[in-house]
């Protein structure tokens, strides 16, 4: 192996092959064959599952002598990597255990080790799968029912711990509950009294949990027509129904039943004691959820009945669909095929359940598990494969979501509008627009017209303005977006009397003749600064500069930026090139926050009709560090932008700005860590006397210190950004609430809904970051004297982790 480990042509395969060759190719063939056999069992086959399992069990038994550890490892991997075939593997383990008791024991031991590791490292999804697997192993006579119950008891004991976040005990209770559909019957039959006690403890816990977090996670604020339940409440109701049904359900596949004769002869193992790792400050747990319900059996016109919301079947099928999505998210065609070959698809309204689970993920708060476009492209794939049924279900779903949009959370409305515009763009924007025409007469700030308007804006971005005009009926005229164009004030009527017009035109000629930035700057120098004059245009005093030298030159900014953006108006690339060429001037002009805000204001004057252009321009200005994130935030909250405040693009910019700030901090953090690692590695090498002449630059302590300073500065900048945003929100909302109270009007106006939910959105979308500042926020901003309507948003957010 090369001493220089940086040789990047070493792919994993190559290294792997090298290792393979050393071990002896024959052994490798067998290992690969074993892995293939094990991972393939349960797939479509000409033989029955039972005979395949029997055959495989025999083969593995024979290979146990030489490959036991390898086989155990593969099986353990299957537990977490192929959970959709869990019953196949529990049965296989059952058969192996019947043939070889020690083998069964070693497998269980290995699996328990993996469980403990998963709990320690916070891999909760894997841990849940392992718990379920262990539970099913009781059904296969591999594990003693009583010892599983002991493990469950240990998990439930977490609810007795003091000073822990509720999300910790939630997870352990959830892990037990989600395994019950598989093993409850066995536990009831073998250990009725102890099992009842466990259930009673769970019941008690569920009823005592605090649910402050729920409003923050609901897709709809209304419980009509379907209650939006907290996930543990819902699952517990489903389990209680299962109990009432004597623990019988119709959904779970149990191949081990066919082998009962063999399996009941097997000796069972007792689990070692499993104590959940104790909680410490750094541990995080999965966030709570609200169950998304949009369909009930009345929505399915014909065919199999949709299982009720509190039936365990509903839970099990949704789990399975969810699992298929999580396993196949990387390959949308495979995913669609797997969804449509759902095992019991003829007994359930599959398309409806797929659509509901997919939307539940798309609308999940805080964030969907996967990219929004995954759901969009998968739904298109499903429509392709089921052209006679899926499009109709989707259309019905869209209609329902639209009907209920008044109480839908703004984050979800946004995702809905993004998805719908994208979906339509793949189907020539064909839609029954007329059915929605009543929204055109409504107050445009209401959810329905706003949704339609935003859909059209997004659809326009994927096509062009004229297409939108042609697509929607004439009645929709008020909602059609303005035709995007640049506004250049220095060429309009009345420009002659403006102070900057002459220089503007000089600049245009100069730039068109390919002048240098220095030459352009010379032209600007002559422009007077209205801020430093006594009688001057009051517009420029908007930002309230009192005395002393003005910190920026609004007229120079106005002229230069208007000219530059107007000249670059042909495309994004043209604008980017213009910004790049004159980057230096822009930085000079906008070297204070006031200057940056003025720059953004000028950009808005030019491009207010082209929201997409503004989004990419702000992005570019941030990337090239011409403006700072705090300037963008302050600009968006400024009085000039108030008429724009509830438009979706404003929040596109806001969140992109926050994310950019995060990316910068992350990168600086990574740089510091990498530099420290390099320095440590070099120090170790030096100590060992292995210094290499060819070694790359080693960062000095000085360099690292400077990097850490940069990191700290960025972190402060990030904190400041959040403080600005939250503070401005408090101001703007308090103002509104006070005004409404003073005039005795209802505070709950359309504007209020958008704004309060946007505040909520800041908390949710960036919750990991915001949590770091929670004590500052509590002591500085969200104090007890703040209006309760604002304070409760903060409290709901805190409840997410407590």
């Amino acid at each position: 192996m090369s001493r220089r480990r940086r040789d990047s042509s070493d792919e994993e395969d190559v290294g792997h092959s090298a290792r393979k060759r050393r071990r002896g190719s024959e052994n490798i063939d067998i290992e690969e064959r074993l892995e293939s056999l094990i991972t393939r069992v349960g797939e479509k086959s000409t033989s029955s599952l039972e005979s395949n399992l029997e055959g495989l069990a025999s083969v593995l038994e024979a290979d146990l002598a030489n490959y036991k550890t390898k086989i155990m490892r593969i099986l353990c991997s299957c537990v977490v990597k192929l959970p959709e075939k869990m019953a196949v593997y529990t049965t296989l383990v059952g058969l192996l255990n019947a043939k070889n008791y020690n083998c069964g024991g070693e497998f269980v031991e290995m699996l328990i080790r993996n469980l403990k590791e998963s709990l320690k490292t916070g891999e909760y999804d894997n841990a849940k799968l392992i718990v379920r697997f262990l539970a099913d192993c009781v059904n296969c006579h591999v594990i003693v029912a009583g010892s599983l119950l002991s493990m469950f008891d240990n998990f439930i004991e977490v609810t007795l711990e003091d000073n822990i976040p509720q999300v910790r005990s939630d997870w352990y209770v959830y892990a037990v509950m989600s395994a019950l559909p598989w093993v409850a019957k066995e536990l009831h039959e073998k250990k009725e009294a102890e099992f009842n006690k466990l259930l009673s403890t769970i019941d008690n816990y569920i009823s005592k949990r605090q649910k402050i977090h729920v409003p923050a996670l609901r897709v709809w604020t209304s419980d009509f027509p379907h209650p939006q339940e907290e996930y543990l409440d819902c699952l517990w109701a489903q389990i209680k129904n299962l109990r009432a049904n004597k623990w019988s359900e119709k959904q779970i596949v149990r191949p081990y039943l066919a082998f009962d004769g063999v399996l009941c002869e097997a000796l069972q193992h007792t689990l070692p004691q499993i104590i959940p790792p104790s909680h410490n400050e750094e541990t995080t747990y999965p966030l709570p959820r609200v169950v998304f319900r949009m369909f009930d059996y009345t929505d399915v016109p014909e065919g199999p009945v949709l299982p009720g919301s509190h039936s365990i079947e509903r839970y099990l099928i949704e789990e399975q669909i969810d699992r298929i999505l999580r396993t196949n998210f990387a390959e949308r065609k495979d995913c669609a095929a797997a969804l449509l070959s759902f095992p019991s698809k003829n007994k359930i309204p599959l398309n409806y359940m797929i659509v509901e689970v997919m939307f539940s993920q798309l609308f999940l708060l805080p964030v969907p598990p996967y990219l929004e476009i995954f759901y969009g492209s998968l739904l298109i794939e499903l429509c392709k494969l089921q052209p006679g049924s899926m499009p109709q279900v989707l259309a019905q779903a869209t209609e329902m979501l639209y009907e209920r949009i008044d109480t839908m959370n703004v984050t979800c409305i946004e995702r809905f509008s993004n998805w719908f515009a994208y979906h339509l763009s793949n189907f020539q924007f064909r839609w029954s627009w007329d059915d929605w025409s009543t929204c055109c007469q409504m107050d445009p700030e209401l959810p329905k017209p706003k949704f339609v308007k935003e859909v059209l804006l997004k659809a326009m971005r994927l096509s062009y303005h004229q297409r939108m005009v042609e697509t929607v009926p004439e009645s929709f005229e008020a909602l059609i977006p303005e035709k995007p164009h640049s506004e250049f004030k220095y060429e309009k009527e009345g420009a002659g009397s403006m102070p900057g017009t002459m220089v503007a035109h000089q600049l245009i000629s100069a730039i068109k003749s390919k002048c240098t930035p220095e030459e352009a700057m010379v032209l600007l120098k002559d422009l007077p600064n209205p801020l430093s004059e006594e009688e001057s245009d009051p517009t420029y005093h908007v930002l309230g500069i009192d005395e002393g030298d003005p910190t920026y030159h609004p007229l120079r900014i106005d002229v230069f930026v208007s000219v530059l953006l107007h000249l670059g108006n042909k495309s994004f690339s043209h604008s980017f090139a213009a910004i790049a060429k004159f980057h230096h001037i822009l930085k000079l002009l906008a070297d204070t926050e006031e200057g940056q805000i003025w720059l953004l204001r000028t950009m808005f004057e030019v491009w207010s009709s082209h929201q997409q252009m503004m989004v990419v321009l702000v992005d570019k200005l941030l990337k090239t560090q011409i403006v700072e994130p705090s300037a963008v935030a302050n600009w968006l909250f400024s009085s000039e932008m108030q008429p724009e405040f509830t438009k979706f693009y404003v929040w596109e910019i806001m969140h992109a700005t926050i994310r950019k700030m995060s990316k910068q901090v992350d990168k600086l953090q990574q740089d510091v860590e990498d530099a420290k690692d390099k320095l440590d590695a070099a120090k170790r090498k030096q100590a060992d006397g292995l210094m290499d002449d060819e070694d790359e630059e080693i960062p000095t302590d000085d360099i690292i210190e400077r990097m850490e300073e940069r990191l700290e500065a960025a972190q402060n900048q990030q904190k400041r950004l959040f403080l600005i945003i939250f503070q401005r929100f408090i101001m703007i909302l308090t103002d509104h609430l006070a005004k409404c109270e003073g005039n005795s009007i209802d505070y709950n106006t359309p504007w209020y809904k958008w704004v309060i939910e946007r505040l909520q959105q800041i908390f949710l979308l960036h919750h990991e970051l915001v949590f770091r500042y929670i004590s500052t926020l509590e002591s500085l901003l969200f104090t007890s004297d703040i209006d309760f309507h604002i304070l409760e948003i903060f409290q709901q957010f805190c409840a997410l982790r407590s």
């Binding site: 892995e35 991972t39 990219l371 929004e372 971005r461 690339s573």
Partner: protein, 162 residues
């Protein structure tokens, strides 16, 4: 799907069979570039599809570093392809997984890994200035200038026999 070892990119993110004949370097070097690239080639665009539309769609997969529109070498107008460059390969993979094979401007577009944009690669390599495929195409495609160039020439010749 069986086996858990990381393999050569497969499925949606696999390399296609296409290799750039103008690539300056060996086949191995081109393959290496293709395997690490975060630039995509996008094909079957309409001549009228704009950078803005491309940005909107591909922006759903990640942060776009830049878009370079493919241009007719003679006319310097878009000729139906472009390059989309992300900052990370992962974002490019998302586009391969979720955008490839879906529609933009009513046309099914195709994405493929590209070894990286260099000046000059934005031009079509067909004799008439557009893409090679538009030289030899026999169908009528309204979004791509009508008939393929060779056929189109034959049609005009047959209409005006000299």
């Amino acid at each position: 799907m069986s086996g858990f070892r990381a393999k050569f990119p497969s499925g949606s993110v696999a390399l296609s069979a296409y290799r750039d004949q103008h690539f300056k370097g060996s086949r191995t070097e081109q393959e290496k570039a293709l395997l690490t690239s975060s630039t995509l080639y996008v094909g079957n665009l309409s001549y009228y599809t704009t950078e803005e539309q491309i940005h909107e769609l591909f922006g759903k997969c990640g942060d776009i570093k830049r878009i370079v529109m493919g241009l007719d070498k003679v006319k310097k107008t878009p000729c139906g392809f472009c390059f989309v460059e992300y900052y990370t390969r992962e974002e490019g993979e998302y586009a391969m997984r979720y955008v490839n094979g879906t529609r933009l401007d009513d046309r099914i577009i195709r994405t493929d890994w590209d070894h990286g944009f260099k000046e000059g690669r934005q031009y079509g390599r067909g004799k008439s200035g557009g893409q090679v495929r538009d030289e030899y195409r026999t169908d009528y495609d309204e979004g791509r200038g009508g008939y393929g160039k060779i056929i189109a020439t034959k049609i005009t010749q047959s209409r005006d026999p000299m």
